[in-house]
Amino acid sequence: MQSLTTSNAGYAAGDLDTRLQAPGADVPERGCFHCGTPLGGAVFTSRQKSFCCQGCLTVFELLTENGLGDFYRFGRAAGVRAKDTPKEEEFGYLDAPAVRRQLVDFADERVTRVTLRVPSVHCIACVWLLENLFRLKPGIGYSRVNFPRKEVYITFENSQVKLSELAGLLASLGYVPELNSSDLEGRPRPRVSRRLWLQLGVAGFAFGNIMLLSISSYLGLDAFSGPGLRKLFGDISLALALPALVYSGADYWLAAWLALRGRVLSIEVPIALGMAALAAWSTREVLAGRGPGYFDSLAGLLFFLLCGRMFQQKTYDRLAFDRDYKSFFPLSILRTSGKKQERIALSELQAGDRLVIRHGELIPADSRLISGPAMIDYSFVTGESEPVEIAPGGHIYAGGRQIGGAIEVETVKEVSQSYLTSLWNQETLSKEKKGSLGSLTNRYSRHFTKIVLGVALGAAVFWWFRDASRCLSSFVSVLIVACPCALALAAPFTLGTAQRMLARRKVFLKNPAVLESLAQVDTVVFDKTGTLTASSAGPVVFLGEKLREDEESCIYAVAQHSTHPHAVRIAKSMEGERGAQTVLWFSETAGGGMAGIAGGREIWIGSAAWLKSRNVKAATPPATAGSVAHVAIDGNYRGCYTLASALRPQAEEVVRQLSGKYELALLSGDHEKERKRFEELFGRGGQLHFNQSPLNKLDFIRDLQAPGKRVMMVGDGLNDAGALKQSDVGVAVVESLSAFSPASDVIMSSQMVPRLAEVLRFAKSAVGVVRLSFLISVLYNVVGISLAARGLMSPVICAILMPVSSVTVVAVGCGLTRRLGRGLECGENAQEEGQA
């Protein structure tokens, strides 16, 4: 048991995004037995165990009844909170043949195999539970979890289990499968390809075996073995190297060929040139019976290059960035026709369909409101954080989110034609950003190739006049030794290491090349909402005559009954201070307010307009206040709660740290009421722009870039997706990594916002390390080339110099980056201690 828990903890520490979700680490004494959520008021108990909600209790009972009680042996509170998980009926649309066909991997009459993404898998216990699903429901066969990808592959019998039932079962256990509309279009699966593994294997095989044979020649042992053995070694080396050269090196030959045809000198050109020279020369040596040639170096070179490529691939594979805007849309929608309601796939949605949109759901297409007061939160589209009220008949744009009660809408456009789509389909957005992977390397290699060719030709011409017999050999030697293996390895290893270090700090880069762009940034643009401010962090302040304590506890009790975000925040601000009164009666008017009777008082909380309809005149709050909720007790107006969106803790510090070195700007979709606060913060140099639509933001970035500025945009999501893409580095700040990851270059956990300056500094020094590695490899080359050009090259020097240069470059690159990264880590610990 002990060993199990420790290894479990090891996994949690090792995997990056688990820590955001892993509830297991520090469970307070009185936490839910299943998921570890601290127990609040209501507690559900079963078999002397306490649970936070009915969902967790049900999962516990289900597991114990089916002999899966072992789940809890993997660690305390290993479960995922199962409160408010979607019901099985909500997955009904999955059984529609069209949807089903696109989701499943394989299906025949009897069995179906499906791959589902389950982001809440976070520990060994989850893996165990999901792989024992067959015990919970007859008909489920084999299930396998791919932990790093957070996927589960399940086979089940069609006669006993429906796809919707399977999804429902997973959801009821807390593992809600993530289904969105991009799944229906065949998701791309970037993975370390089998081909690369095979290429690496073949190259490694050749390298190892040739090296084994060559060691004797390094040590001069072939002196006593005679020419027969030398011939044998040569033939075997040739035979081993050929498949490596043809199969493992295939990508390099192709890339070099393409580069030459496109008249570009990419890094592959000198590599291919060196390899060709090496192969040709060695083959000549072998066929002439003069020894094994340089095949050992050739195979080693290929092996190291492929190792670098594998490292790069593995780093890249951890992050699935390839999401488009469609992954924000739900997969299904509730359609209503007359009295019948059914869940349909989003792709089946047609203009003119009537939809029921409930609290918190996204409007999938431009629509007209039929019934119900709509409060639409457009923060994804416009950045405006306060909901807009829409009267029946009004137009609702796609991408809005309904807050409050359920509404009925009629779509006027199809999903693909809507406003959001047209924003994303803009020309600039579809354009690929310049600066492909390894552009730094390519810049260097351009000069490098020219110099090498020059030196090789020079040496050849020189020896032609001095000693024609050494002409060819010196020309080839220069090409061989100059093969920029180390140069090619420096960037992937160093930047890859840096990328991993950052990922451990919850800063995820799209690819290593982003580091390069980060290092060049000179302008930082913030989108206010969600980056510098956090809407949930602000204080809730009551304006008006001070309330008595018993009155406050009545308001607390009533506010607790609502799921409206304002009510939730009001209740939260009073949490723990006073005991709640019992609420006798409660009613909520969506988009208006709520009324409730508690402690013998009638409490009304809502908008001014809503109170007016009840003949209560509300005072006008000061213009600087954020969102406002007015309160009346027993029909008498008492005051209002202001809910300010506050600056994130340490936001000021970030701005101050950056202000000296970078040009700063702030964009916001909100109105100007907070301008003053930010003017103080940003000082005179900062540009502040309010009331910005997504298009304005995009244009602003483009204007900055026009005079050649390198712009980093820090935003929170959809409403600035255009600007994120247009900027040189788009940073998306997210609260939970599994929730939203818009198309950006960097995804950053909001916890890391205070350390933005450090991240930028780290990126700069990582790129510095790459330059240093380049310098080292160039030094090696200068030594090698000068030897080769003078005709002093021997197979021993060639064979030793090449791997040694590669290994040093990799060691220096990774070592230094790790060291720099450790500073990043230490800083964080110190900060945490400081906070504690």
Partner: protein
């Protein structure tokens, strides 16, 4: 020393068997996910332990009613 002419090619043949093994392993998908199987190994241990124990205890109960 002449035997080395036989032994070296033989060693290459043996090594090729391992290469073929590797190719088989890659083809059969063993390199797709390298971090879940170690976890699985831990789980299966606890699982078999438990079933063995319970089987034993059942046997004991049957033996000594």
């Amino acid at each position: 020393m002449i035997v080395i002419f036989l032994l070296i090619p033989l060693s290459i043949v043996v090594a090729s068997v391992f290469l073929l093994g590797f190719i088989w392993a890659v083809r059969s998908g063993q390199y797709e996910d390298t971090s879940t199987p170690p976890m699985r190994a831990l789980m299966e241990e606890s699982q078999t332990e438990k079933t063995e124990k319970s089987e034993k205890s059942e046997e004991c109960e049957k033996a000594n009613p």
